[in-house]
């Protein structure tokens, strides 16, 4: 009898282990990466969509339920999710995904961040002490995160080690090929001056050699007023930017205002996986981003 009870208990305990590794990604790009590396062995949940501002969402009940179930949490870090992730972690009652555990992966720790502020003061707006957290738009930042993610998946699910490593190798080969293709294709974008709504595209610009002419937001996270926008429009008379970049989740009102008055092309970029219908995965994200930039650049300089 005892043996039978033990056997039943063993089966119950063994069940979750045989099921897929549940990965909770705070933003869609890490969800997409987890699908590339984890394949069939993982079940990916995403806390935000490409239509949502990752700085601003709330620790909704549905997210607590997802965090409760997760075996691995992959976050951008660098304070991007500071407004909701700490609450989510505390409320989830899930010890596996707490900072310091194998189930907590901070992608920002794997890359070198740009624009680290030298002084921290809220009068400068929503500054991130660790640096600009929107590093997913430099494709050279993806492989180090992929490697770290693979290591974590191997630690959490050793039985799948071979699969994860094989998927990583395949992904890196494909990524290197794509990178060469993207860089060749993006040559006309070099030196192209652009404005952006929020400082979302610093890494993309650094990778492509585009020239940033500032943001429409007077300070990070602060909505631009009409006087501020009028000043930007006036500045465009002397040295016009070629493009205004807006992320799919951002409100276009201010960008449209400047675009119309200064006669600059407004380009809405996916920003992350799912931001446009074409950006279905990480490859699609960069394919579509470049496609949209190149088209706008062609139209801007006929």
């Amino acid at each position: 009898m005892m043996k039978r009870i033990l056997a039943v208990l063993f089966c119950l305990c063994a069940l979750p282990a045989s099921a897929a590794v549940k990965v909770l990604a705070t933003v869609p790009e890490w969800g997409a990466l987890a699908r590339e590396i984890g394949g069939e062995r993982v079940e990916v949940m995403e806390a935000t969509s490409a239509r949502q501002d990752p700085h601003r969402i709330e620790a909704r009940p549905s997210l607590i339920a997802r965090a409760r179930a997760a075996d691995l949490l992959i976050a951008t870090g660098a304070e991007l999710e500071i407004g909701w992730l700490p609450v989510l972690l505390r409320e989830s009652g899930n010890a596996r995904i707490q900072p310091g555990q194998a189930g907590f992966l901070e992608a920002a720790a794997e890359v070198t961040l740009r624009d680290k502020p030298t002084t921290l003061d809220r009068s400068m707006g929503d500054v991130h002490a660790a640096g600009d957290p929107h590093f997913q738009l430099d494709p050279r930042n993806i492989p180090p995160v992929a490697r770290a993610l693979t290591e974590r998946l191997v630690r959490i699910d050793p039985a799948g080690a071979e699969t994860y490593r094989a998927n990583l190798a395949r992904f890196r080969t494909r990524w290197q090929e794509a990178l060469a293709r993207w860089e060749a294709k993006a040559a006309p974008l070099k030196g192209l001056p652009f404005l952006q709504v929020h400082r979302s595209f610093g890494y993309l610009a650094a990778w492509l050699g585009m020239e940033g002419r500032g943001e429409l937001e007077p300070k990070p996270g602060v909505e631009p007023g009409s006087a501020h926008l009028a000043r930007i429009v006036a500045e465009q008379q002397a040295s016009p930017a070629a493009l205004i970049l807006c992320a799919a989740y951002q409100d276009e009102t201010a960008a449209r205002y400047v675009a119309q008055r200064a006669r600059i092309a407004l380009v809405t970029l996916p920003f992350t996986v799912g931001g446009t219908p074409e950006a279905k995965d990480l490859f699609g994200l960069f394919d579509d981003t470049l496609e949209r930039l190149l088209k706008a650049a062609r139209d801007a300089t006929p």
Binding site: H55, V87, A129
Partner: protein, 404 residues
Amino acid sequence: MQSRLLAAALVCACAWPDAALPQTGANAFNPEVSLILQGAYKHRKSIDERHIGGFVTADHHHDGDDHGDDKRGFVLDHSELVLGANIDPYFRGQATIAVLDGEVELEEAWFQSTSLGHGVGLKAGRFLSGIGYANEQHQHQWDFYEQPLMYKALFGEHGYTHDGVQLKWVAPLATFLEFGVELGRGQNFPGTDRNTNGANSRALFAHVGDDIGASHSWRAGLSWLHTRAEARENHFESDTYGEVHGAFTGRSRAWLADFVYKWSPDGNPAQRNFKFQAEYFQRRESGDLAAEDENETPLGENPYRTRQSGFYLAGVYQFTPNWRAGLRYDRLNSGSQRLGDNPADIEIEHDHPHRLTAMVDYNWSEFSRLRLQFARDRAMPGITDNQITLQYVMSLGSHGAHKF
């Protein structure tokens, strides 16, 4: 020696931003420190004994205490100092200290587990109870200047706080389902400090919530609170004896139902969002009321039984990133209040206190807010108080994230 210490402290302070860089937020070695500054300009009637019609409230405890509610003109509300940090890989701690003039109140001081796993959360110390929806929110989180009338009737100026333990469990389901149980000292209204072994306050709550598509999310809850009071003092009016002191000994049981719904286009609340919240309560108190007149002459003991209820409905709409507007309706029912033979001839007030509040607030950023509010307050029978409030809430420092 002292100057060397000071120098060391200065070096540490200057080195702080750099030292904090490699960590993120809640991981930082330095505690998260934040200070909330709150104040208002209040225009309202001068009312001698402001109370809620037909309800015995906590305010009557503080005899002659000039609590914020009665002040008019320029008013500084208490400043909240919040300190929090992870203690080690197993625990997190937080304290909220409210300061105003000569008054320092330890609003919360607790630690909670971070490593129990299996959906279990343990909290111990002094904390705002998890009952209801608005109870866990501090003043700076409120969408209106005052908290709902039902909270004021139930617990007094702030939400229900007790010293004790809370155990929560999140069920391993795709839908959010959480259960909580609390045992505490029960020292605050409607209970009293009884200096006994065991738990003087007991609370149970359950929350369920989910998303409907990308744009809608909701949470509903049911809570129950049981406390005991021993010689809980209140004033009563008596037709025969004038003002009568009453001391209630007995038990107080309340249950609350709460619901909150939030909408934002595609789940992105940055530009526009809407929040609807509603709560309902029912409270029963039963025991004895020992009455005495102003010369402390005993007027006998009455059996004391009440059954009271109330609710509020509130909606807040953010129509641009900076502006929000809100409307709230409060209504209570003084219900049945039975005093047996009533030898002290205590006057029983029957009323339906209600209040309609409209507010609009401007937010320069998530850290600064200015609010203009108009309230038509009918909390006392026969008095309509049209109140205008201009309020500010400013938060300094690394202010932690709020719950849903």
